[in-house]
Subunit: 674 residues, 3 copies
């Protein structure tokens, strides 16, 4: 584990005092104190104010803000401000803006609008960060450097095209290898020199976000674009390090955001931070998975919740208020899954522009006599009381689920067998099966140490890169339980098929051969039949895809019960070394999946909670000898259930619980077992 | 009221004889006479024929048309022809065409395709109008100048960008004020000089028609674009005035068309005219509201119905025939709401191009033995018999509803709380509540004289510009009844929030504070509870938005009955001076709204008609001592009801009516009370 | 009929050995032989390999492929490879790529991406084909020249704009005639010189694929674009002919593909070939109609099935496997309707790029132990046994249905009366009525010899070009039965209305006048009433369009039974000379249409099969004295019915059939009557 960056929970959020007259600052401080707010993220989009023209810098405003916050002894998360380029720069140096997927050159506007390969952008961003780092390094209240903000988007301009050619050359060395990798002999696409490479937007070989004529090319472009933005991050971080060797750096991520390979990013960041914006209808388990993914990015290190709204969103279609208590339980959900900070976007609501209907700790009313403020204050008091009890606590998961951006991109670019296939949805189904049993889960990547786990789930492991199957083999043969599904083992790193029969390099481990993949139209199902004792019923439905599986060394656990492949295996289990490798060849109804996973968990003697009402979540963190159990009611009504927690103390109330747990609406219990 | 421009109902329409051989003209004249057609709109899209090249003009064809019409003593509505630019102009002077929202430069094509700030367009349009005005001013049959046609659309080219910077400078004077107005410190958008301003299309800060990153900027661009086109109109009008001091000018508007601030336009027009194209499923009340809005543009002056189809449309998805009688009742609906002309698009059907399936008085069959022609002829006979009885009659409304293009734009640009919010829909709900009681309504703008009215309704008065709240205060304190709703009093003219609590400057008048605004997903409702006697039930549903209202001086009339804001006020009433100010904090079901408005009408002793069957409309106009009541059956079946009209004379049949009114399908009665 | 090009059924498909190492070629040959595959289509997208740079050609790889195939005595279908332009060409000669409907210039990417009027494309394609033809002409295994591939798409670049102006000048000679043809006086679009003509894409007068401001212009652009691509085809064909006078040429068509006037194309091709890709939910009758259309293109000559998938597609949304037997019955359906070849795309599956999930004879598994391979092999054996029995057999249809690309384009460009109107759907309804009686049908064009047929159906004969009505008159007066519908006889070749009353030049033949056309919204119906004995019921529903028909000399067969046109004719019959002309003025439910067509068939004593179960298709071909009846079960269950085939021999099993036919799932019987 990394060194401990925090000694207490950071509680605060995004703060933009430069938009307001100074008398409001005083009122802000008063309210921050009252609400036990101890940190502020500043200077996120201030480039335009810090540098009013090409050769002019002015830090006086930022100095004043920092000074005022320091006076209150607030922890400062200091932005570098490079996520929105100034107007003068777009006007004078048009190379700084992006060209989009349809080939349109953008002008000044929005944010996250810089071309990552723009020389002017790099020059000016670098100069700015030099000055910031020089000026503020060593400031006693400077807690974290926050580089740029929510990196995202793509650029397809000519300078990116040129940079991409260099990236491709670095990766493949010769154009012949590129042709092989992207299978360019198909449709007569042979390239003769690197200058033949065209960015895969709509004017080239792109089709849209989930379709590409040459997926190998488009996947590489995604890798390149992710790397290009990461280079921007690294450039700023390295400049900071010239002046400041110690203060950790971060940038706020966005859960399962498709555009960036966050596992690669996290290696360059000291702390993972992220922005959690569930909508009124986001499944609880999706938020939980996001948290676990963010924790997983740095192999289990706790993360910062950089942004959440205290109540309302503005950019969702229907921005429901968070009901009383909901912000609190969502905050504890973050902590339960690994957060060491709770920060809001934003502390004071903007009076204009696109986010003025976004909730804030201090609303447009401008005072503290609001429900939203009161809830923030009450949570602040509670967190203060908790102190550092949970800081740096770990999740001791015995189940890992693979999540891989290369697979994400590749799977969604496939043309066929079904447009219904979406990466995150498929991962989520398996996450949900574990989540329904309240089991702690680690989200893993290809380089994670599998041997730490009893069970590794790898749904839709479509792309199996070099070394991966060997790693899986080792894990299983040494006793691990491995599970994968339809659309696995199909292609290599370049989206070329592993020839010789699906699932390619996983075939021996799984002991099967998949001859064909049937695609079912929406509303169409096949029936699964099983006599296995692990299932409560004999028949289940399945949909979307049906693999036609032949047993090689595996045994059949579930069979199809209709169509011409009736009787063929749909779910199989293979003994391999001391372990087991499962294959799920179709998309069964969730109940069946839950039972299957429950069986595997039981076999590995992993603790599950089985009679917990819908909407109640249980998660745990361990610190030293103590295990903290978060019992969270995400519903707006009272929930009761019997549990094994009898005798535990609820740290929030200092009361001992009986074997019957009762939770008020949106209630949280934080139980400690030693 | 303005001087009386007409001495009789204009009855005619758009006429394009230049497309046909001259022997057809004679046949046209015969049929026009037979159908009592007394006017023709000509020269609407003839620029290409009037000016075949840069230095060549040819009016001989137009001369011939005018001469032929004059021979029949037809009234001429003379177009200026500038709504479609000639091919040679697009070829030689490419600055005349537009750049669209996505940044695409258009070539020659369609119509309404000129850039309003194009120097070439202005030069050529100006020259053409000089020649037209010089040539035809004083012609005895020239009744109205019709400038251009259906002004609409936007341009985002570089010359518009430059003109916009000038417009912004004229409005705000310094760039600091612009930054403040558009809240450019948000997302680091600070502008340093006027040249930093970028047109807010998709390549800048635009998103789409109902979303913008910086609404203040986008709203100003809408104002600018409306002004730019209005400048085109004014340029032509002023040229005409050099030669012709008397003939009124107009251009045809399009009801609630979003793009242009018609109240501002109407000030520059002598007569309002508009084009009425209800679809098969357009609600009756929407057409009625459109008419009232058009009448309201010039404070109640009667307007021209410039276009309607005698039967079929072509550009709607499903172009149903108007059933026998429907064109007649729709024509009377126009008159009932203030029209002094009934004009068709078009008199003779085009043989080719996009509108060839658009109905006409003379169909492709080419003779008068058609149902459509016969209905036109019969209506012509009837209108001729009516003579000038109704010309210049007024609507004596005691209820006004505010309609404001700035609010239209601003409300629909908001990001949050709900994408379901649409300006016209929300206004329509309140219009409908009045309409269901057959009350005459004036559509008002911010500068209207409120004191003329007993009741002013101002739904979704989102933007409250300077002086508006004072005006409302005065109206209420002097005894008026005012009503407003959710999403009112939120922002100033620049879309910056009135800080300190919603509904901002309306707060004292309404006696409430709105702490939060909840957004309900589609299909979700809250329940409203009330014991107020004015409602027939105790429970109603509401949807979309729920304001969390605190009473300050107001009383609660309706409360929420579910969710965490159960018991909080949803509808309130405040005594303020001698008047009352109502607030409706949610979107209740229409029944409740109808009852609420009925109650307010009753309190103000406004005459309503309460047991009229669905589909029957009653509206009135007053001329001198006479009040004309239009009783219109918009349905295709017989309707009966009891009324207070016993003893009135039906001017159309010269029969007295009993207390039981019976209407045949699509029937109209025009009753007179003295 | 043409000379007989084949002596046996070609059985094979697309083959791309250059993508694989040579040891795989040997394995391919072994499997081809085992599966009785006797032909291969090669060199379809190999331009990039044949010509690695501007001045370099390399045919060694192609030589090797041809040599290896020749050694197995395979028939070779030799592509010219011009359907995908090489990367270097796009880089060095940017005029080769297209500009799309929205005005976007495309770069290197995809295929079918060449501008048909690009000088560089023409120069390089011509040079390549010279070399190919010179090199391979006379090769004993060269069976067919396959020029380019699936010609399709449009270009709107400047060189196309210039070429279009020339095309227009060739057609119309003067700009005045153009103005008249496109009715350019509408909306002031008068053109002064040919340089005023702008390509009708989105930046000009285009709207989208089924809408245009000036349909006459847009239709001409479709004609021009079809001609431009056809010129590309002809250029290559003529070059081939310099070296090779005998080998037939083809290019693969795509059924009812909208973009190209295939009747015009077929005149230039020696053999029609096409690609048949029904989706899991494509109606059987649509595939049948496609086959008949392809056979009709050259007046009944048998065609090549150039592509079908042995099992799965990849580019459809849900790519279901073909169930066991389905590929076989679909292959026989092709033969039943006129195919003299069965060819697959593709012989070996590509390992990468967009079509890697497209089925192939040799799957990714790489061996012959797959279901798909076995089915291909079994069909190969069966076809080999059949030998040349069916080669060149003819369809002796007595019913013809008109299909015309000009009408296709014109009808779908109309603005009004209903957006629901689609050309192929309307034709399909009448095809289906015949198909439901298992009657052989010829798809005809305007120049077809009508007198060969007893019945000619011409649904939605919207555009009636010069000479067409005279031809119909002659056909009917000499005893033929003719039927047409709503939206017929409306416009001339330029989309200008035939004035004087619908259906224009067809009016006398049909003996009716259509005064108005009502459009019904979706879900809305009218009721049809009839007492005619030919119908089993007295009431049917109709939808979409209702013509208001006046009888002139026709008699009424069906009347409307509701709305204001109740009692007016909906279906009429007119005696004209010795024949009959029917008019169907609305879209009746399919049952009524089936009964109406059945009646007409009976009147003409055309053999029908009436009690055949749903999903069973019967079609016939005649060779010499023999008539072959294909009895095909397209369903996955057993079907039984009584027939008149008692005593016929099933050529596939050499068994005689009884009067009761029993078909296993996807079963086929091929019965011979002498």
């Amino acid at each position: 584990m990394r060194e401990q960056y925090f000694d207490k929970m950071l509680y605060g959020g995004d703060y933009n005092p430069e938009q307001w007259p100074k008398d409001i600052w005083e009122e802000d401080m008063r309210m921050f104190n009252e609400a036990h707010i101890n940190s502020a993220t500043i200077n996120v989009f201030s480039w335009a104010r810090l540098q009013p023209s090409e050769n002019e810098y002015d830090f006086s405003e930022l100095d004043a803000v920092i000074e005022r916050l320091a006076k209150e002894d607030m922890e400062i998360v200091l932005g570098t401000s490079t996520a929105a380029i100034p107007a003068w720069m777009c006007r004078k140096f048009p190379d700084v803006t992006r060209v989009d997927f349809e080939g349109r050159k953008h002008k000044f506007g929005h944010r996250h609008n810089h071309c990552p390969n723009s020389p002017s952008f790099k020059r000016f961003a670098s100069e700015l960060v030099h000055r910031l780092a020089q000026r503020y390094s060593g400031h006693p209240n400077l807690k974290i450097w926050h580089i740029s903000n929510e990196y995202s988007g793509e650029c397809y301009c000519e300078q990116c095209e040129k940079a991409f050619r260099v990236w491709v050359k670095d990766k493949y060395e010769t154009i012949e290898v590129v042709n092989e990798a992207w299978n360019m002999s198909f449709w007569g696409h042979t390239l003769y020199e690197f200058d033949d490479i065209v960015v895969p937007n709509y004017l080239g070989d792109g089709i849209h976000d989930t379709a590409a004529a040459f997926a190998g090319l488009s996947i590489d472009y995604r890798r390149f674009n992710s790397d290009s933005l990461l280079n921007n991050f690294k450039m700023e971080r390295d400049i900071i390090r010239l002046y400041d060797k110690e203060t950790p750096t971060t940038t706020n991520l966005m859960g399962t955001y498709k555009g960036l390979d966050y596992f690669k990013w996290a290696k360059e960041m000291d702390i993972v931070s992220w922005d959690n914006y569930p909508s009124y209808n986001t499944p609880l388990s999706h938020t939980a998975m996001n948290h676990d993914l963010m924790r997983g990015l740095k192999g289990g290190e706790s993360f910062m919740l950089m942004e959440q709204t205290p109540s309302q969103q503005n950019w969702q279609p229907y921005n429901a208020l968070k009901r009383p208590g909901k912000m609190r339980v969502q905050s504890y959900q973050s902590i339960a899954h690994g957060a060491d900070s709770i920060q809001f976007f934003q502390l004071r609501r903007s009076k204009g522009a696109v986010e003025k209907f976004h909730g804030a700790v201090i609303e447009h009313a401008g005072h503290s006599n609001t429900r939203v403020y009161r809830e923030v204050m009450e949570l602040g008091r509670e967190l203060k009381r908790l102190g550092d009890d949970l800081i740096g606590a770990e999740t001791k998961a015995r189940v890992g689920i693979l999540f891989d951006w290369d697979n994400y991109w590749a799977l969604e670019y496939t043309s066929g067998p079904s447009v219904a296939l979406r990466y995150v949805d498929q991962i989520q189904r398996y996450y949900d099966a574990c989540y329904s049993r309240h089991v702690d889960i680690d989200m893993l990547h290809m380089d994670s140490k599998f041997s730490k786990y009893d069970i590794v789930l790898a749904p839709v492991l479509y792309m199996v890169k070099e070394g991966v199957s060997e790693k899986i083999d080792a894990f299983v043969s040494q006793g691990g339980t491995f599970l994968t599904t339809y659309m696995s083992g199909i292609v290599d790193q370049s989206d070329n098929v592993h020839l010789g029969g699906y699932p390619g390099p996983l075939r021996e481990t799984l002991g099967i051969w998949v001859e064909e993949i049937d695609a079912l139209a929406p509303g169409t199902t096949n029936i699964l039949a099983t006599e296995a004792a692990l299932f409560s019923q004999g028949r289940y439905k399945c949909e979307m895809l049906c693999d036609l599986v032949h047993l090689e060394s595996a045994e059949m656990v579930v069979a199809y019960n209709s169509d011409f492949y009736k009787g063929m295996p749909a779910v199989t289990k293979n003994r391999f070394g001391s372990g087991e490798a499962w294959y799920v060849g179709t998309v069964p109804e969730q109940t069946m999946l839950n039972e299957l996973i429950a069986h595997i968990l039981t076999e590995k003697e992993i603790e599950t909670f089985d009679d917990v009402p819908e909407g109640v979540e249980i998660a745990s963190r361990v610190k030293g000898e103590k295990t903290f159990y978060f019992i969270m009611n995400h519903r707006n009504d009272v929930q009761q259930f019997h549990s094994s927690f009898k005798g535990c103390t609820d740290v929030l109330t200092n009361q001992k619980v009986s074997d019957k747990i009762q939770l008020e609406p949106f209630d949280v219990k934080l139980l400690v077992k030693k």
